[in-house]
């Protein structure tokens, strides 16, 4: 599984970082950033899906 973050859509609500902190963080400017190349460890797949579903801007896309 791989996640992609759309920086145009991201408004910095921060749900992703709350739900899946191993993949997402909020930077010093208030916007989400990926902490890796987006490849999701098996143990993080559920929280990554939750993060995508919870994003108010639909800024997170999941492939695989």
């Amino acid at each position: 599984m791989k996640v992609f973050l759309d920086p145009i859509k991201c408004s910095g609500y921060g749900a992703c970082a709350d739900i899946c902190p191993s993949l997402f963080a909020i930077d010093e400017f208030g916007f989400a950033q990926l902490l890796s190349d987006g490849v999701v460890a098996a143990s993080d797949e559920d929280s990554a899906r939750n993060a995508a579903v919870s994003c108010a801007e639909n800024a997170i896309k999941i492939e695989g």
Partner: protein, 405 residues
Amino acid sequence: MTEHFADVYPGLTPRLVIGKSGSRSLSLREEIAAGTYAPVATGALIDQLEQADLRGRGGSGFPAHRKWRAVRDGAAPRVVVANGEEGEPSSFKDRWLLTNRPHAVIDGLLLAAAAVGADRAVIYLSHPETVSSVRQALVELPSIPGRVEVELHVVQHRYVAGEESAVCRSINGGPALPLAKPPRPFECGVDGHPTLVSNVETLAQAAWIARNGADAYRALGTSASPGTMLVTLGGACRRPGVYEVPYGLTLGQLIEDCAGGLSNGIGGVLAGGWFMGVADASLLEATWCYDAMRAAGSGVGCGAVTVLGHDERIEEVVARLARWYVEESAQQCGVCVKGTVAIADTLELFSRGSAEPDALAKLARWGTTLQGRGACAFLDGAANLAGTFSKIITSDRTMQPVAVE
């Protein structure tokens, strides 16, 4: 800068700056005499590009064969686009090529269409002089059996308009602004079809390879950076202009041998366009090739080099450039809007001597943390400016200017 002036590295047998094209536009008759539009098999052209190791000349240096192959392997219909929207402010080489040798670009575009199996070809431009020259070239385009029709798409000039997803978005009827990836244009571009967006010089180089072969292409340059490249030498040098040069010489040699040397000492260098940030005078000793320029903390980029004179305050130069990033941002990505402003504000305070004690640490951090964060690479350029400035200003003040002798 004389926009249409071009020349060749002394002694070099030119490939693009041929005939009298350095000072005037080549006629169709002259182009045909030089081999342009001559029939050539394109079945193995992508393999030839791989053997030649042709890299994209728009700034990324991405291997051309990989992009071409990805489009060819996509489902038909396919589209090819010659990208002549030269957004980089310090670069004039694409404008020179489109103005003085438009047929060389169209030739490369038609060969690309044949090689990837495209049935639509578009030339994407903004600068009025290139629109005029290409329009004239299309009117006189000779009859070539089986060739696709070539369309012209004119866009309002701005830096990000030349980014490949912005190119497709504009041709599709939208604003010329970047999109988030994926998908990339090779997967989903013009009208949702696999689309090859290629810089105009890359296409002209590809046409040269199609007619002369990969081995001939590799006869100049280095084994890792073969061939020749169009560079734009500007700023404090005696003869600014566009030059066709081989890879493998030092940047100092290029400035000395092509542009007549420094005209006002040296206070720093912007190499690879503004995108690669700022360097100190030691960059003149670096070899002009992809690996060495990257190792020196800079890059070949689109081939534009601006020499800063000894009396130019580097702090003021980078502050001006940083404010340009703020103004040119597409204002689409929050992190770009905020990040470019933070960099510009910090560099302006630094220039005025009133920066906070942690200013350099912030700039160094943004040089890393803001890389790869936007929908396009625009923010990376601002991050490069912040990161490179923080390095050179802290390395024992090597920016002490050197007056011209």
